[in-house]
Structure formats: structure tokens, C-alpha cells
Symmetry: D2
Subunit: 371 residues, 4 copies
């Protein structure tokens, strides 16, 4: 069974996430990067292609050109992955899907909710695989957390706290990674809420299996002169009445990537932390605490199947990312991938951003959330 061939959109010189997608896609040897529009500047795209060690002829600087040229080859790309800033997501996905090419996309789905709705229509009409790299849902112990909750280990969920503290935008936003994230023209309507708040939102729904139905948002811009939010507090209600808190910040000095989720039901509680991803803590009503560790026989089938090393040999962010590509490769080959985030998750995420931004701006208090 041959490797699937991937074309990358974005990921040019200086990109953080381009190489991450490349590593993740190839980790299980089901996928191979063979082409890309790494930059709209031909020289830069060529340089990136060299750094990825692909055939120089397949480092394009124009998406329609790549789609056409690859279609013409016997060994052309099987799908594209979109890793450029948010405002590129819609046009890139549209072009690919309309050319009959499946799409893997970095999150969030688009730059605005309106774009996401448009994209949803395109995906529906195309009838092609489309998925989103909500990375954190690829961690084995996040899968385990979801499975345990689904199996009733916590009883009825009553409370969810999801936090995503970072500190790297505490000062002026300098450098390629920072600049576009604080620029409404490229990031879209959300700053912190769109960059990491949406991860927290997706994780909360993913782990609990519950949908948010109401929210109250307080987004702030702490760093002087910044145009988008950089510190977010959002209160949540879930469909079953459970209460929730979602905190995200990019000005909490010293926090690196401290995503953490805690869920509590009437029978138990659980805690997972991204910076120590290989353990899951489970609490029971009698005060007992169990630590579930990756690589042990205590993992359920979903988590076990997404673990590549024995217990105690830490896996991390790249492996979690790779788990999403593994699911996507399966999807392309015809296997179901029910936990792989798709356009519906993309729509929910964009609606979350739009709703939170508007509700906060209007000091609207509790507002319904639906999409």
C-alpha cells in the first residue's frame, strides 16, 4: 500500500507549523510530502522546498498552478494540507476542493464565521474529505479521557474547566509567528480567542461529548496598542446544564502552553494537562485518585492504538499531531474516522469565536450559542 502524497499550502521559510505538519503527516509513513505552495514568492517557495528536500519542480508559488500540474502527473498529490494564516484557509480550501482534492487544514477553519459557513457549503457539495488539526484531540490520553467519560466513569458531567494559558505575547508581538496573529487582516476577528481559545473550546466539547449552548464572554486587550484580544474569560453552559469555564490568555508571563482540562461529574473527576500529556488523573467520590499512564495496559483501545512507545518513553505534541494525520490517512483510504475534527467542528469553532467576540464587545452577558 503506497504512501499518500501530500501537497502543502503555506509553511514557507520561518514557519513553525509547516515543519510540524510535515513531521506529523509523515511520522507513520502513511503520507509523504511531495509538493507545496510554500510561499507566493517563487524564490521563497523554492527555498522551502529545498529545506523539505522535495523535488524542486514541485515547489510552486501559485495554488492553481500546483493543482493543475499535480493533476497532470501520474504521481500527483492525493490531498493538500493548509498551514498558512487564517485568512488563506477559505480560498485555499475552496480551490483544492473544487479541483477534487481533499483538504487537511490547520485550525481555525477560516478567518470569520461567514467564511466558515461558505466553506461548509463547499465541503458539502464537494463530498470530499475535509479535516482540521485540532491537535490536542490527538493526544492518546485525551482520547482516553473522552472514552472514560463516554463510558460513564464520571457519571453525569456537572462542571468543566478548561484553561489555556500562554505568556509569549506579553510584550510587543515580534517575529513571523506573532505578527500575523495580532493582525485582524490575517488572523480574523479573534486574537487569543481564535488562536488558542478555540482549541480549548474544541477540547472541552471533545472530551465531554457535550455541546456548549450558552456563553458569557469577557475578552480583553491587555498589551497597549494591540488590536485583537489577548486575554479571554468565557463562562459556558453545556446542553445538559453543566457549568463551564474557559480561560485563555497570551499575556500570562511564564506560561508556555499550559492547556489543561478538568471535568467533574456526580461520580468522579478527571484532569489532563498538555505539558505532561502522558498521564491522566482520575478522581473518585471517596477521595481516591488513579493515575493512568500512557503505554500501560490500562488504556482503552482508542488511546492504545495511538501510542507508539512503551510506558515511560514520553510521546508529545508531534505524536499527537501525527495521530490526526493517521486518522486522516485512514479516511482517505476509506476507513471511518469518527473522532477526527471536520467541517462541523470548524463551524462550531468559528461560531464560538464570533459569538464570544460579539458578546464581549457588547457586554451582552449570557448569550445563546448555536450553529
Amino acid at each position: 500500500m503506497r504512501r499518500l502524497r501530500m501537497g502543502m499550502i503555506g509553511g514557507g521559510p520561518g514557519s513553525f507549523i509547516g515543519p510540524v505538519h510535515r513531521i506529523a503527516a509523515e511520522l507513520d509513513r502513511e503520507i509523504e510530502l511531495v509538493a507545496g505552495v510554500f510561499s507566493s514568492d517563487a524564490g521563497r517557495s523554492r527555498a522551502a522546498g529545498e529545506s523539505y528536500r522535495i523535488d524542486p519542480a514541485r515547489a510552486y508559488s501559485d495554488l492553481p498552478a500546483m493543482l493543475a500540474a499535480e493533476k497532470a502527473r501520474g504521481d500527483g498529490i492525493d490531498f493538500v494540507t493548509i498551514v498558512s494564516p487564517n485568512h488563506h484557509h477559505l480560498p485555499a480550501a475552496r480551490a483544492a476542493l473544487e479541483a477534487g482534492i481533499p483538504v487537511m487544514s490547520d485550525k481555525p477553519a477560516t478567518a470569520t464565521l461567514a467564511e466558515a459557513k461558505e466553506l461548509a457549503g463547499i465541503v458539502r457539495r464537494a463530498g470530499l474529505p475535509y479535516a482540521l488539526t485540532y491537535t490536542y484531540s490527538g493526544y492518546p490520553l485525551v482520547r482516553e479521557a473522552r472514552a472514560r467519560i463516554a463510558a460513564g466513569a464520571l457519571g453525569v458531567i456537572r462542571k468543566v474547566v478548561v484553561e489555556y494559558p500562554q505568556g509569549w505575547l506579553s510584550g510587543a508581538a515580534e517575529g513571523k509567528q506573532a505578527e500575523w496573529r495580532v493582525d485582524p487582516a490575517r488572523a480574523g476577528e479573534g486574537g487569543c480567542i481564535g488562536d488558542i481559545g478555540v482549541h480549548a473550546f474544541q477540547l472541552a466539547e471533545f472530551v465531554t461529548g457535550l455541546r456548549v449552548t450558552e456563553l458569557l464572554a469577557d475578552l480583553g486587550t491587555v498589551v497597549p496598542g494591540r488590536l485583537l484580544d489577548d486575554d479571554c474569560s468565557v463562562l459556558l453552559r453545556f446542553e445538559n446544564g453543566a457549568r463551564g469555564v474557559l480561560l485563555a490568555s497570551q499575556i500570562e508571563v511564564g506560561e508556555l502552553n499550559g492547556l489543561r482540562i478538568r471535568a467533574y461529574g456526580d461520580k468522579g473527576g478527571l484532569v489532563w494537562r498538555q505539558e505532561e500529556p502522558n498521564t491522566l488523573t482520575l478522581h473518585s467520590l471517596d477521595g481516591g485518585t488513579e493515575i493512568v499512564r500512557a503505554g500501560t495496559v490500562l488504556l482503552g483501545p482508542d488511546a492504545a492504538a495511538r501510542t507508539r512507545t512503551p510506558g515511560g518513553h514520553p510521546e508529545g505534541y508531534l505524536e499527537a499531531f501525527a495521530n490526526l494525520y493517521r486518522d486522516f490517512a485512514g479516511l482517505l483510504r476509506g476507513a471511518p474516522a469518527p473522532l477526527l475534527p471536520g467541517i462541523e467542528d470548524g463551524l462550531r469553532g468559528m461560531a464560538f469565536i464570533a459569538t464570544a467576540v460579539a458578546a464581549s464587545r457588547d457586554r451582552a452577558g449570557w448569550v445563546p450559542f448555536d450553529i
Copy 2:
């Protein structure tokens, strides 16, 4: 210099906090429990007196009786400590102060804000020492956190997150400790917000040296049939514009007493956690992280003076509690105790509870906070 003589109000059979106050008060041998109205039931008070090993004649069942009898003795009590449920705080403090006896009181100051205002007048008129055992402000590393922030280590504070998760009221509230806390007649208008939320509030103001000026509260009652709140989310604004989040819950299964405070400024951040109280984590803008440990020479004078053991010999809750009694003993002997919580802190705490309860009930959104 003789030990100060303490009379206890409350703390009868089955009390958790009575023995804690006794141990804390006596730990440094500056204070001695000699009398008490441990219960209004004479037999129960006598039994408690025996368990405390005090002179049986000084185990009273009536507060006026104790105040009169002790006044008549040459070796009568120097102050009372009030450890009974909230609704007793005002009448007990009033009786003592009006009899010329200083008061140490468990928090919160009273059961309602109106009572607190009345008490403030009484304290002012009496001109006698009155203090509140906001225990967590007695931890050496909380003092250190406060001192570091006051010295500018974090720069201008921008964000404060204080969380106080517990899980012990996840089920039916059974037992002496639980029952009164969920009963409005004894606890007052706040449940979780008054029991632990107010600790978190005091800690946030104490550590940062900043006052809350605005808040948005969402208090919930999760356990069916409960009359008071048991899960609280409160957003804060501080006087300098800093943003804040205060979370408190008593239904987060498996959480024991997970009070944690994090503060972030434009130059640094810090984290302190009550369940590992002997370390303080400091973050700097360059990603550097310093762990300050109790008992090392790195502690400032305030924290160092409140540490009884060398580094690595853990101190805990009882010692933190004792630090408040040490400050109070100093106050009685004429020394200043600027960091010991007093009636102003009591008023602010009760105003916090009242404001949060009302704002949440009315879904009022952001409301000003002042007292």
C-alpha cells in the same frame, strides 16, 4: 512575659475548626486556651473542655456568663476567639467587645453584609483589637509572594487568577461540617462563595495589594435540593485595570483544598498552590522559572520570620494558621500587625459575598464593587 489567655466561643464536640484554632493559637506558646463556651449545651461544653484539658470550671455554656466570670478572675481571659458558624459571629463579637474583650474571629466576619456593617461600628467604638483568620494569608510563601509583588518583581499587575476547587460537597451534605454550611440560617447568604470564595477573594487582594473594583458573578447550585450556591465563577477588575478570574467550587469531585493563585504583570508571573505551600514559582519574561523554597535564605524577612523549620521540613496549614495568632498576640502586646486581616477585610469579604450573590441572582453582568 506570660502567655495570653484565650477563651473560645464554639469548637464543641465534632468541631473541626475548634481544635485547629487551639493548636494554632498555642503553637508559639504566646497564647493559652483557658476557657470557653464550647457549646450552649452545658454537658457538651463540659465534654469539650475536658477534651481540651482545661479547668472544668471554665467550660461555660453561656457567653455572658463566661465574660462575667472571667472578668472576675485575676487570671481571666485576655481575648476570645470565635469559631462557631457564621450566624454566631456578630452576637459573639458584640458581646465580647462590649465587655472590653478583644476578638479573634473565624472568617467570614458575619453572616450578612448588614451584620458586618454593624460589627464594623462596634469594633470602631470599642477601640479594641479585632482580627479575622483568613488562614491562607498566614502562609510564609504567600507573604513572600506579596512582598515580591510589592517590590515590583512582576512589574504592573495585569492578570490574576485565583481558584479554590473542592469536591467534598459533591453529594448530600452530611455531617456537622457540611450541614451548617448549606443552611442559609447558619451560613448566611453565601454557600461556597462565603465558605471558600471569600478566602480566594481575600487572597487575591492580599497578594497583589490591589483592590477589586468591579465584578461579574455566576453562582450555581449544582447538587439538587441545595439552597445555597456550591459552584462559583466570578470575573474581576482591579483598581489598576488588571483583569481577574475567581473560581470556587465544592462539587469538583476529587479536589481536596486546591486553592491556587497566579498573578501576572508586565515583567513576570508567579504561582502559589496551597496543597504544596512551601514553594513559590516565579516566572520572568525570558522564560526563566525560579522556585523559591521555604526555609532558604532567599525568603524576605516577613516570610522568614514566619517559618519555624529549616528548608525541606514541610510546614502546613496549622503553622500558617499559627502565624495569624502570632500576629494577633503581637497586636495585643502592642506591636503593629499590618498584614493581619481586620474588620476592613471583614467588611470587604462580606461585601464581596453580598455583591456576588446579588449580581448572580439578577444576572446583572458587571457591577461595581465598593465598600
Copy 3:
């Protein structure tokens, strides 16, 4: 039931352990410090007596004088506690026991094994309570660890690793605490091995319920000019054939008081760490890990009875110490205290020190250990 009256031997100005014994003894209000020979210098003893706030007339500077004077009082001391450097232990204990006064003593029992043997005879002849404050065996979760092993939770013990790293003697040994510990005339034949290695030894036997029968010792003197050992590696065999490792050091820079014990059997393993004393980690063969936390209902009766606060309200070193005094008070009142270390443990400890010192000096390899 009145409080037992304690006389202290040692604990003068600058003492660390004197105040610790005082706090620990009095914590449960079963015992009261009323007298002491805090120093052989009358002025210093008086100053210490003042700092302890005892009757100035009962701050003696001569042990026979104290024993005689206290005997003559109606409210004389019920026992003495010996907290002076090691070389005082034997003469002080002998004088007290021969005067009919029970003895609580800091560890190790004496300065040399020969002294310990002499003391054992005295204790036996006196027929009076004698106990040793091997503090760490007073921690509730150490009691829990012992109980779990005794109940077979780990199966047959195969391996024990006990480590006691400190760093405070990495440089010149300055200050009251350091000076006597590095002086053979006061500390005895062991340096680090006698100060902390013996704690590790006692803890290993206490937790496992197994006796060491053979050892191989490598003691080193790392700091130039020092006369006693400051870094110890000892291999152990237990009576059932289990293998053991005991490490103790006072030159591991940055380590505060990192005592840790791990025990492994054919069915499970456990880990306890003194610097986070309120949790006990249990491992099972299937890779499962349980965290047992102080103050939860999961504790057995022995540990539960030695816990004063609810879960999440940390107890520490002073409370563990107090648990030994609680046991000792019980003993004086006629209750059994089977887990309180006594003269047999003292003898074993001194034999451990002597055997390790000799075996290391002689590069003797494995030597039998018995007493």
C-alpha cells in the same frame, strides 16, 4: 485528665530542635513543657526558659539539680526529653532513668554503639518508658505505607530504596547546627550516617517490617578538612533476602531534606517522599497507580488517627513529630505504643552506624549486620 509535664534537656538559645520538640510535645495538649536544663550556662538556660515562657525558677543549668528539685515539687515533671547533641544522650538518659524519670530522646540513641549497649541495660533495669524521636515514622502516610505492606499489598518485598539527600553541609560547616554535627567529640563516630543515614535505616525497617541482616558501606568525606563522613552509599540485604539501597548525603547542593523511600514486592510498589508527605503512591503489577492522600477515607486506622486536618490542608514535619509525642504520652498513661521507636530501635540504629563506619573504613565488602 491533666497534661503531662515535660522537662527538656538541651534546646538552649540557637537550638533548632529544642523548639521543634516543644511544639511537637504540646501540639495535642497532652503534654506541657514546664522545666528544663536548656544549657549548662545558667544565664543561657534562663534566657531559653524565658523564650519558652516557663516559670523562671524551673530553668535549671544542672541536670541533677533539676531532677532533685522537680521531684520535690507536687507538680514536678513526668518525663524528660533529651534534645542536646549526641554525646549528651547517654549521661542525660542515665541520670533521668536512675532518678525514676521516663525519657524521650532525640535520635540517635547515643554517640557510640558501646554507649547504646550501656543505655539498653539501664533502660531494661529501670523498667521505665524510653522512646526515640525517629520523626519520619510519625508521618501518617508512613504509617499507611507500613500498614499496606503488612497487609500484603505489595506481596513479598524484593527491593527497598531509601534515599536521604541534603546539601546544607556542602561548604564549611558553620553555625550551631552544623558545628557539632561534624565534630566527632559531640556527634560520635558517624557524620552524615549518624545524622540522617540512621533515619533512612530506621524508616526502611519500619516501613517494610523487615530487618537488615547484611550490608556493604561506602562512606566518604567530600568536603576538605572534614573529619566525619558526609556522603554515604550503603547496600543492604534484608532478612527475607530482599535487596536494598540506602543513600544519604549532606553535600548534594540544592537538596533540602529529600528523604524518599520506595519499596517493591512481587505484587506492587510504593513511593513516599518526605517533602510531599501527604501523599503515598501505590503501583500495581498492571501499571496502575493510585495516589493515597492524607485526610481521605482511604487511610487505614493508624494513619487516620494521626491526621489532624481534612484532606488538602497540609500537615508536615511538626505534626509528624507530634505523633510520636502522642504515642509517648499514651505510653506514659498506660496505653500500648507498639510503633513508637524504643531502645531496641536505638540499639539497631547505633549498630547500623558502627557497622557502616567500620565496614567502609576497612573496605570490608559485605558484612553481617546483627545486634
Copy 4:
């Protein structure tokens, strides 16, 4: 610049380490697996080739055949990687090197010291790159630890403690991974000492930059019926007189892969733990503790260059492994790789195993260590 082409020896169906090498080698896209003798059984080798998605024609079952066939191709392999059990290492490396093919090999170098000496001669004569995957030396923060010590951050090293606890061989050794490790015919003369003790040994020398010159070994066989050691305690002396302890065990139930190293000098100390590999703890003499985190600007150039994600996005075992392949690829392209373990390290490792096994068997006490 094209990818280097790798042929694998070993790594057939059921192999744990084969896929790990494949992922690690390819992670940076400098290397590509193209061929292999995955098994000496043709069907099994073909099946493995399919699982790796390589050209079926290049899944060989005979090493000479692979070497010949690949040499004949224009796109033949650039090097082999040896991932089979220890007893295959020498013959496989010999065949490759004699065919002019560079070798990457799993550790330990060979099954016996005699073999290692033979191999050293072969490598020297061949004049071709040969390296060993001592994985743990590839972790960025291990590199940082080494760099800090080399720069004098700890002063003169006095003490090193390296521990490698595992528990997975606590019971009967079942399954492909376990079976060969407990079989002298395949593992060689060391069990636990050769499987993981040698990792600890290499890490200690790597991090400190100091060579072991003397050792005392106590290897035990705990599980009944086992032929090789499964629990090891080794005392060390380093060339500068520093004292050391090396512990390794495979019967410590519940320990997964708890490799930990601590080094202490006269100015500071450091701690690194493999299961939380993205932090390094540094202690200074004043009790200060600094946590150095991967992905921050505080890392030196060597560690920074071996980090692929920003701080807080955990990297783990596979990425550490990949760092060794990155160094090896550089070596093949002509760049220096001074920290990549080579045949000298292999010889030292085998001498360590042989010396420890013999010294323990003979109860020889301290023995010199040299190679």
C-alpha cells in the same frame, strides 16, 4: 540535497525498536528507510517491509544479499542501522563495514566485551562512520545539562547519582521484547545491566564529561529461574575522585522508564528526569532553584538546535532518538558530530557490563575500571 538511504537490520514483525528507529531516522527528512533485512525469514521480512511501505523487492532475508543487491543499484543504501538483539550486532556490523557501508547500531555495541574489542578493530580499519543510539544523550536538556557542567555551572563535580528503575520484568518475561533480554545467548552476559544499566553509565559519563575509573557492583537476580541479572546496584568513582551511584532495576513494580540523573558539584547541583524530559532543574549553593524549560531562550546552542517545537509543546523519546540520527546524517555528509556516541563509547559500555558482572559474581569489592 537528497535524503540518505537507510537499510535496516532487524525490526521485523513485533519489534518495538525497529519502528522507533524508522521514525527517528526519518523525522527530519534527512534519511529515508528504503531497504531492510527485517527478519531471516523471508515471509516475515516481506511482511515487515510492507508495514514500512517500502519497495517489496528491497525487503531481504539475508544480509549479504542485501548488501550486494543494494550496492548494485544506483539508488542503493547509504548506511545500515542495526536494531536486532545484541548477539547480532557484531556480525551485522562486520558485514556492513566490510562491504563499505557505514553503521548505526542500537546499544549495547555487542553481546560481549570480546566482541566489542573485535568490532573496534573492524571499525578502525574500515574508517567508516559507526555510531550507537544511546538515546538519552539525544534529549535537548541532557545536552543542556552537559553544556552547563562543562561551562562550570556546578563547579567541581563531587557526586553523581544515576538511577534507571523499571518494573516490566517483575514477573515472567513473556513476549518478544522480554524473551531475548533474559536469554544469555541473545542478550549477552548482562541482563538489566546490559539493557538499561549501560544507558545509565553512558549518561553519567556524557553529562559530567568525567570517566569512571573504579566501581563496585552488586547485581542480583530477583525473579526465580531467571538466568541474568534483573536488579543492579553499582558504586562508582570518577577520574576526578567524584563519588557515584548507579542503580538499575527491572523488577521495581510500577516504574516505567524512570531514568534520572543528578549531579552535584561544589557550586551547584542539577537534576534531569527522562519521564519529564523537557525541564532541567538547577540548584545553587544559596538554595535557589531554577527550572530550565525546553523551547525557551535560556537553552544553549546545542540544546536549542535539537528542539523542534516552541516551549510547552512537549517533545519526547522519539525526538531525542531523532537527534542522534540527525547527528549521524551530518556525519555522513561530512559534518563533525562530537557528541554522537561511537565505538569508543561502545567499548566503554561493554567493559562496564563485563566489569560489573565479573565484580559482582566474584564479590570483588572495588575494582578498577579501564578500557
